[in-house]
Symmetry: C2
Subunit: 322 residues, 2 copies
């Protein structure tokens, strides 16, 4: 018996069969290309049928399926809001997938929930029941585990960490993005660098070698390595914000572990000691001694592991009920 | 059958018998005077015996007891840390009280947990399952209800809201207090006013009429009413911080309700619309439309109602198990 984990991103779909011990038996990856709306739903359906077929060909059977979606999974209605998939403002994914899987249970959750569950199952949060996974990529979100359960909130939108207020007074440029994400996401790093380039006419460092609108966070990290002063300022500000945000999670949630993940951690993982040092200044002084800071072990695979863990938990629930 | 709720404060002890419907049948109040350590434990024990006796005299019986403590209740060991009661760094309150109550169940929790439970039972959070109670008094803390359960964290110190980082860079004066509490607690309001008085030699408004070290938050609120400019600045800064902190709770927890309570709300309750307006700038834009802002209905009684609700919940658990 195996578990099927599916990780839908904004541009691709990954699927994998897992053993119940967390070993990947088979994995596939598909590009979404120009698909939108129900074409994406159709691709997911075809992928499930194909993976179930592969399991059967190997004399195995899929026992349960979990799906990670890049947005909000409405646990009440089974619909999904995914801002980067056109037409998925309230998409009936659960009903659609259930029509294919029949009696095999299906569970859907957000990518941030799946990331923390993946680390909880097979990554750096094994054995933890209270964990915050801060995902820093293009945007910023958090998967929050409390007593081993995902924090959902009253409308499934808890963990909207990019909106954390960390520096007053409010500036209108934060509208639609959020203060923390404005500065400390991948897009934020590039944006802050561009803003400084526009302000600092006297700067002639390496970020000037590229058209300003083409600068990415990776250019800033790379220039930082070479001691570029403007990049040092941009990254320094991010470290401060990452530390303050982590401190706020420590003071409010008193977790065992804070895990930084997403594409930016990646290159930012080397800053973890500096982030902790910043957090130590701000956080509740007992809670900060009780918490470990870490980076994601599973990296880009955290979501698909989490999806498979959703599937496993559903099986366990079923067995408990029967 | 009645419930006994006990609310231990830093200077006094309140006790009340409640009906299971939440009506107060009898209440008593005692001053702690100079008591410390086990003398406070003894007073609690005597109070329980006296209240149980009063119930019996009325032909009634105490079915369950709940105690609110001004600090941290360690749910694993039954001990209490209460910074304002000398000798209570790890006080074995549960064992001591159980020796008195025998088979009548006892439950202890922190004042912030009891405050949100009180509002949940008989106050402005009735019918809510996801609520944040921000208590602003001398200090700042929060009681957080998630799916109708108190958020405890891995060491029972979740909700340490006074430590919220809201304005970088870090200043050494936040050490031992926390950034949010430094500015926006009762003590913070008085402190900020004193700091401004020291800086603004030209100011000759009404806060000059009192020795600077005698100024309290109530003086600042009173001067605000008369349009005193320095007080308007101090309170304006607090409204900004209260709004930012509330926004962070909204974005991270997606609650149904944010309730402001504690001694400062009180005089600050009239600022609730301004606090909400500030929060609307910062918070996740969908979550903020789903949340109601309110002030405490029970005021200084929130803790004792919450203690009685602890007692009631324990009874309900027992009935479920039997």
């Amino acid at each position: 018996m195996s578990l099927l984990g599916i990780d839908l991103g904004g541009t691709k779909l990954a699927a994998a069969l897992f053993s119940e011990e967390g070993k990947i038996l088979l994995r596939e990856k598909y590009s979404l290309e120009q698909r939108k709306g129900c074409e994406v739903g159709k691709l997911i359906g075809e992928t499930i049928i194909s993976m179930m077929g592969s399991a059967e060909d190997a004399g195995d059977k899929v026992r349960s399926t979990g799906i990670s979606v890049p947005g909000i999974s409405n646990s009440g209605t089974g619909t999904v809001w995914a801002p980067n998939i056109p037409g998925w403002s309230d998409y009936p994914l659960l009903a659609e997938v259930k029509a294919i899987t029949g009696k095999v249970p299906v569970t859907i959750d957000s990518d941030r929930a799946c990331s923390v569950l993946g680390e909880r199952w097979q990554g750096n949060a094994r054995g933890c029941r209270n964990v915050v996974f801060i995902a820093v990529g293009t945007g910023i979100g958090a998967g929050i585990l409390i007593n081993d359960e995902i924090l959902r909130g009253s409308n499934d939108i808890a963990g909207a960490t990019g909106w954390m207020a960390l520096s007053g007074p409010f500036e209108s440029k934060y509208t639609g993005i959020g203060c923390f994400e404005y500065y400390a996401s991948g897009e934020g790093i590039a944006r802050t660098a561009r803003e400084l380039l526009a302000e600092e006419a006297g700067y002639s460092g390496e970020l000037r070698h590229k058209p300003s609108d083409k600068i990415t966070s990776y250019d800033v990290f790379s220039a930082y390595e070479n001691g570029d002063k403007l990049s040092v300022r941009v990254i320094g500000k991010c470290i401060e914000f990452w530390g303050m945000a982590a401190a706020n999670f420590v003071s409010l949630f008193n977790p065992e572990k804070i895990i930084f993940g997403g594409g930016i951690f990646g290159p930012a993982r080397k800053f973890l000691p500096l982030i902790r040092k910043e957090a130590e200044k701000w956080a509740q002084p007992i809670s900060i001694t009780k918490v470990a800071f870490d980076v994601s072990q599973l990296g880009g695979d955290a979501g698909i592991y989490g999806a498979a863990f959703l599937a496993l938990r559903k099986v366990d629930q079923h067995s408990e009920l029967n």
